[in-house]
């Protein structure tokens, strides 16, 4: 490892101790401030588990019921704390079961370190029992990965893994460690990684770009901000708010940007994208300056690209140079950490109100409110809506809860209607759209923020993909609140079948078990609601519970999420029904 030579010479004089590779891994984790990890043991990682047993007073290991659950729990933890989540698994199937969570963390820029056991070095390539090329398999979905085959590599590789996972645009790193490297003894010392030659985590902001952006913003008549998770990862929430307020710019969020700004802020105009709000989508094609902050113009945000904000000058605040002009060509690219770039531009921004422009958002909101929001939140028809469940949760939580959503219709309802006062409160699988994410992610979120209420909103489909993690909640009495919005369908796919496949409901009708009994089987308090009159009390009771609580809400079976930008359509073609 050429890259760390400089650091290596420094550490020569450090005090060392002679320990096994497995014990070294524990010391590395402790040195990186890890006190909690999720995982599942097996043959090739047993020496490390043996050390975990000895160090259990310093390091809590949570046995998930499937390795995928370990990654999502680590992600949930990372998303609410901003710290690196850690997941551990054995070789072969243990390692391959991590892949979905790793891919999810990669596309959603979540800092995570995964440690996998591997067969002995001398067995590599021999098709040994539980041997798999996890380095090859995980390469496209990791920020970095490395196979350790000698104990002496452990300190510098572990240090590098944590540094890379958390720095710059965060992401998942996988370290694969052969069993011989875990068993060998060597002289251990540890030095945190401060940099890697060839890797520039944060580009330096260019003042000329800041000036050009400020000039565009100051001249704009109809400026519009779209912010993403880059604001949360860069901890630039205050700077964003200051910019929005000073320049009087309506601001909308991507699904991962949600909670970076108070949802009730008068200049927060809602969500952009396929099931986002009406105004922000329509007015994307009317603004004169589009200010994108820490977002990557995902296709679910832009709709048809050649009809996206063509009339506007585009300013792109971004940490990752590869995102610049990837999907949408920007007139001004401001590279750098969002906290730094927004701080730099703020003094150069003129105060403004843009009242007429802001009123346009209010007008569009009124249309959406009458057509969609009101009937969702205060329905007059029988049949519970997902929206009204969210409304009751908002009331009971006073907008203070962490909301963890799975993937599908309920996710869109959760993100559209959940209210937030505090950042890092919306945990969902945005880029990969991983069903089964929410239940384990809620475990990690709760353990990362024990003082906060954590509510998982899950559909009946996704719930059954990782339902076994109820075992973790029961075993450790983790007081998460689990809400399953049961419409007895794979709702989002069914909606598309209704709208675009002439109601041919191929494999989307669910035959479900008794969810209440299943929760009770895990000794978790459980209730089912199917009538509107019982909803409020049930939600209140759930939120008041000091213990884990499961609430199944039987909702309308064939409800649809609107507004909707059909796939391949322009943001202007957003449908209200």
């Amino acid at each position: 490892m050429e890259t760390l030579k400089a650091e290596k010479t420094e550490t020569k004089n450090k005090k060392t101790m002679r320990i096994s590779g497995a014990e070294a891994i524990i010391h590395c984790l402790l040195a990186e401030g890890v006190d909690l990890l999720y995982g599942y043991p097996g043959g090739a990682i047993m020496p490390v588990y043996d050390e975990l047993y000895k160090f259990q007073d310093k390091l809590t290991h949570i046995l998930t019921r499937h390795e995928q659950g370990a990654t999502h729990a680590a992600q949930g933890y990372a998303r609410v704390t901003g710290k690196v989540g850690v997941a551990m698994a054995t070789s072969g199937p243990g390692a391959t079961n991590l892949v979905t969570g790793i891919a999810d963390a990669q596309i959603d820029s979540t800092p995570m370190v995964c440690i996998t056991g591997q067969v002995f070095r001398h067995l590599l390539g021999s098709d040994a029992f539980q041997e798999t090329d996890i380095i090859g398999i995980s390469t496209p979905v990791t920020k970095w990965n490395y196979q350790i085959t000698r104990a002496s590599e452990i300190p510098e590789i572990m240090a590098k893994a944590f540094f890379l996972a958390r720095s710059g645009r965060p992401g998942p790193v996988l370290v694969d460690i052969t069993k011989n490297a875990q068993l060998e003894e060597f002289d251990f010392s540890y030095e945190q990684c401060k940099g890697v030659r060839s890797y520039k985590p944060v580009p330096k902001p260019e003042i000329s770009a800041i000036d050009a952006a400020a000039e565009l913003i100051n001249r704009a008549k109809k400026p519009f901000i779209v912010f993403g998770q880059g604001v949360i990862l860069g901890e630039a929430e205050e700077e964003l708010k200051a910019l929005v307020e000073k320049a009087g710019i309506p601001a909308a969020w991507t699904i991962l940007g949600l909670s970076a700004m108070d949802t009730d802020h008068p200049l927060n105009v809602g969500m952009v994208g396929m099931h986002g709000n009406y105004g922000p989508n329509i007015l994307t094609n009317e603004c004169d300056v589009l200010i994108a902050i820490g977002m990557r113009f995902d296709d679910r945000v832009t709709g048809r690209l050649d009809d996206y904000a063509k009339q506007a000058k585009v300013i792109h605040f971004e940490i990752d140079p590869a995102e610049i002009n990837k999907n949408v060509v920007s007139d001004v690219a401001v590279l750098g950490n969002s906290k730094e770039t927004l701080s730099l531009i703020l003094p150069k921004i003129n105060e403004n109100k843009h009242e007429a422009w802001h009123n346009k958002f209010k007008e569009k909101y009124k249309i959406e409110f009458d057509e969609i929001i009101k009937p969702q939140l205060n329905p007059s028809k029988p049949g519970l809506t997902m929206g009204e469940v969210l409304k009751e949760i908002n009331i009971a939580s006073e907008h203070k809860a962490v909301i963890v959503s799975d993937v599908g219709q309920h996710q869109m309802f959760a993100c559209r209607y959940a209210k937030f006062k505090q950042s890092k409160s919306n945990v969902t699988s945005g880029g990969l759209g991983t069903m089964g994410f929410a239940l384990p992610a809620a475990i990690g979120a709760k353990m990362g923020a024990m003082e906060r209420e954590v509510v998982a909103i899950i559909g009946d489909g996704g719930y059954q993909m990782t339902i076994q993690e109820l075992g973790v909640i029961f075993q450790h009495n983790i007081p998460v609140k689990i809400v399953v919005l049961n419409n007895e369908h794979l709702g989002m796919v069914r909606q598309w079948q209704e709208l675009f496949f002439e109601r041919r409901y191929a494999s989307t009708v669910m035959t479900n078990p008794d969810f209440v009994k299943i929760a009770e089987g895990y000794h978790i308090k459980a209730k089912r609601v199917s009538e509107r009159e019982n909803l409020k009390d049930a939600v209140q009771e759930m939120m008041a519970s000091k213990d884990p609580y499961f609430l199944e809400v039987r909702v309308e079976k064939e409800d649809n999420v609107f507004p909707m930008i059909p796939a391949g359509a322009s943001v202007s073609e957003i449908r209200l029904k």
Partner: protein, 176 residues
């Protein structure tokens, strides 16, 4: 936008997994690699990938952005043919008897500026370095006489513009 030939030059750490990581970037976008060469570079411990693709400017730019994003990549560039000096090498294995039976063969060797690398009782080996077109020409001239084996290398290229890798590496060190 029209497709053209681009030579991508990647300066990187010498790392086992990096080739896999870089080739995945092409695979994911269905971009065919016309040729690939990996060698040491002018800087000690730094490897250089030379990759040739036929793509639009936009695709080439985005691919290079993704390559440069990889942790162990120091810097990636892409250039058109006009901006580079480039060569390929080829080896031809031919029956020795032809050297005596077919006069034309000797003329081809002379005119193509190729070299005889080795001669044995059964075969001789010709080596040719040059542009793709020249190698192709020589191939079609020799083909009627029978080529026992043929192999052509990937492109190697030097750019006319400067590639300030050493300066970049110093900056990286300063940024730590």
């Amino acid at each position: 936008m029209e497709k053209e030939t681009f030579t991508i030059s990647v300066y990187s750490e010498n790392n086992v997994g990096l080739l896999n990581r870089i080739s995945g970037i092409f695979l994911k976008r269905h971009v065919n690699v016309e040729s690939l060469n990996v060698s040491k570079s002018e800087i000690d411990g730094v490897s250089k990938f030379t990759i040739v693709i036929v793509e639009t400017y936009e695709t080439a730019r985005k691919i290079v952005g993704q390559i440069e994003k990889q942790i162990e990549v120091i810097k990636a560039y892409f250039h058109t043919n006009d901006e580079t000096i480039y060569q390929e090498s080829a080896l031809f294995k031919i029956k020795s008897s032809l050297l005596f039976d077919e006069r034309q063969i000797q003329n081809i060797i002379k005119e193509s500026n190729s070299e005889i690398v080795t001669v044995s009782r059964d075969f001789f080996v010709l080596s040719k370095t040059g542009r793709r077109k020249e190698v192709n020409e020589m191939h079609s001239q020799l083909e009627p006489f029978g080529i026992m084996q043929f192999v052509r290398s990937g492109r190697i290229a030097i750019t006319k513009a400067e590639m300030p890798i050493s300066t970049l590496l110093e900056e990286f060190n300063l940024n730590k």
